[in-house]
Amino acid sequence: MPLDLAPRLDDPDGLFAALVAAHEGLDPPASRRLDAQLVLLLANHIGDTEVVLDAIRVARSTDGGDAP
């Protein structure tokens, strides 16, 4: 199954607020650890290494907003 890049979130603003709130009170190293745990949890939920590898490729190639 390819990485789905169409909008799928039922409550985008709520999700964004929850992600930001999860980091409240954490110093930068603790924030990094939290994000790493989140990625691993979600990767396991997806359960498909190819999809996660696709996501890594997209994230690595989308840089700075002014990529072609």
């Binding site: 890049l5 930001v20 954490l26 930068p28 924030s31 994000d35 989308t62 840089d63 700075g64 907003g65």
Partner: protein, 540 residues
């Protein structure tokens, strides 16, 4: 040419010479919300005394984005066409990040509505028209330079003391409606807590006059090259006036930033070196989102910014306030005219506190997105913006302001237990649709009066006292395109009962006079199975 504000004449109030000291209805504050409420009450036959500490309209353009629902309310009050004619209509916008455009959006993708998603219009124009319209009713006693300095609360009335150029007087009123803005004097005099969040950021808001032809779209920039690490907004108003918002950061000195020597270079950098412009109005704001715990305090009711304050991203201040006024006007009129028990006014809290919370939530989230307050928040924000340029999935996460939508009071105690069907829910505002009237193009909402209205999608009816029946049929309002039936999801013969504020309160699969009558009584807050006549007879 800069706008010249009107000066309204102060007149010596009769109370200073021993005149009438009691009035059924007193509105405090002659701004957008107070004037809308006074006009609505006057048109419902209720006389109003309006007290305002100033003698003019708003300084600066202030609330500029009038949302579709607000325009529909102005339409009902007779000012809709004027707003459309003068205002700048817009439905679309664009979002930029650093050097590039991320995406465009359309807030009203479907056709067939009299009013667009938004009209941009300086608040002072709408206030001037509302003053004229209030005067034309002959029922609004507009008292300029009348400043409330004391408030007394009693179980069945309120009293205020008022300062005027000729001295102080006292008046009593059955209802005191505080529409006196975010810095409400009435709220302070009653010592009511107004709690919420302050955002540690400052924004420069400027109106500039220029001949350059930028788009009428809403353009929003995150971290643009002309204003690094901050956000910017450009929006067109009538008269060649443009609204510019520039984020300044918490460390900016508000007084310093208001000086033209500071403002002009910032604006020039944004518009480009060749654009000539003049500053019309400049202000520096810190945004707050907060509200009163309750809006109804016995016979004192808070309406608009006096009850709740939001940041401007999303245009939810003025629009929310006008929609408050719309919610309260018919209820309080029904109470003073003896058609409803006083408890109907309490449902203003039931319906408008959740509406305020929705506005505060959207406004808070937008401000948090624009002003990330932690390193992690900024990383997520910038990740969303980076991805949004190339991947559609990230665009719904970009929040440059969730623009005002009317609140849908699905949990209102006034919604009757009628039928339900997909398409529209009780508590939602009535939806517009194109219709033919005597063969000519017209709009459905223009046919909804100021009382209870039953939309009947075909089939026979009999009169129901107190309800205006609007038939949607080829020989009446002809739904030629079928959009009315589709937008209301109405089955053939279905009926939609609208309240006097044009909100759906009950649906019926087919006409039944008794059920309609009961739903109307319920929406007026009348207790079930105890008709007023029987109760009166027992007392007699």
């Amino acid at each position: 040419m800069p706008h010249v504000p009107p000066r309204y004449e102060y007149r010596r109030p009769p109370e200073l010479d021993g005149g009438p000291g009691h009035h059924p209805m007193v509105v405090v504050g002659g701004g957008l919300v107070g004037l809308t409420l006074a006009l609505d009450l006057a048109r419902r036959g209720v006389g109003v005394v309006l007290l305002d500490d100033d003698d003019s309209v708003s300084t600066g353009s202030r609330a500029i984005c009038f949302a579709k629902r607000t325009l529909e309310i102005l339409g009902r009050l007779g000012l809709g066409e004027r707003a459309l004619a003068k205002g700048v209509t817009w439905n679309t916008g664009r979002v930029f990040f650093r050097e590039r455009e991320l995406f465009g959006f359309d807030l009203l993708p479907e056709r067939g509505h009299e009013y667009p998603a938004f009209v941009n219009l300086q608040q002072y124009y709408v206030e001037e028209w509302l003053v004229e319209a209030c005067r034309a009713t002959g029922r609004v006693d507009l008292r300029w330079r009348n400043a409330v300095v004391a408030v007394e609360r009693h179980p069945d009335f309120a009293a205020v003391e008022v300062d005027t150029p000729d001295g102080r007087y006292r008046l009593t009123t059955d209802w005191l409606l505080a529409c006196d803005g975010a810095r409400s004097t009435v709220r302070k005099l009653m010592d009511l807590p107004f709690t919420g969040r302050v955002f540690r950021d400052r924004f420069l808001i400027a109106d500039v006059v220029m001949a350059a032809e930028f788009s009428t779209e809403r353009w929003f920039w995150f971290d643009p090259p002309f204003h690094r690490d901050q956000s910017a907004l450009l929006h067109k108003q009538p008269d060649g006036v443009w609204r510019i918002d520039l984020q300044l950061g918490w460390d900016a000195d508000p007084e310093e930033e208001k000086r033209p020597e500071r403002v002009i270079p910032r604006v020039q950098a944004m518009l480009g070196p060749d654009v000539a412009f003049e500053l019309e109005w400049v202000s520096v704001y810190t945004f707050r989102c907060r509200r009163l715990e309750r809006f109804v305090h016995g016979r004192v009711v808070f309406v608009g910014d006096s009850a709740h304050q939001v940041s401007p991203f999303g245009a939810r201040g003025g629009n929310g306030g006008v929609q408050d006024a719309e919610n309260l006007g018919w209820k309080i009129a029904a109470v003073v005219q003896g058609q409803a028990p006083e408890s109907l006014v309490d449902t203003y809290d039931d319906e408008r506190i959740p509406a305020a919370d929705e506005n505060v939530l959207h406004s808070t989230r937008a401000t948090d997105f624009i002003t990330p307050k932690t390193e992690a928040a900024r990383a997520y924000r910038d990740a969303v913006l980076t991805l949004a340029g190339r991947h559609e999935f990230a665009r719904p996460l970009v929040n440059s302001g969730r623009l005002s939508q009317p609140y849908v009071a699905t949990a209102s105690p006034l919604n009757a237990s009628g039928d339900i069907w997909p398409g529209i829910v009780p508590g939602a505002p009535a939806v517009d649709a194109p219709v033919l009237w005597n063969g000519r193009p017209d709009w459905l909402l223009r046919h909804i009066g100021s009382g209870f209205t039953l939309l009947v999608f075909g089939g026979d009816t009999i009169p129901v006292p107190g309800v205006e029946i609007v038939r949607i049929a080829p020989d009446a309002l002809h739904d030629a395109e079928g959009l009315a039936a589709r937008r209301y999801g109405a089955p053939p013969g279905g009926c939609v009962l609208l309240r006097p504020d044009g909100h759906v309160t009950a649906l019926f699969r087919r006409f039944d006079a008794e059920r309609v009558r009961a739903a109307m009584a319920h929406a007026l807050g009348q207790p079930a199975h105890t008709p007023v006549t029987r109760a009166s007879a027992r007392v007699a």
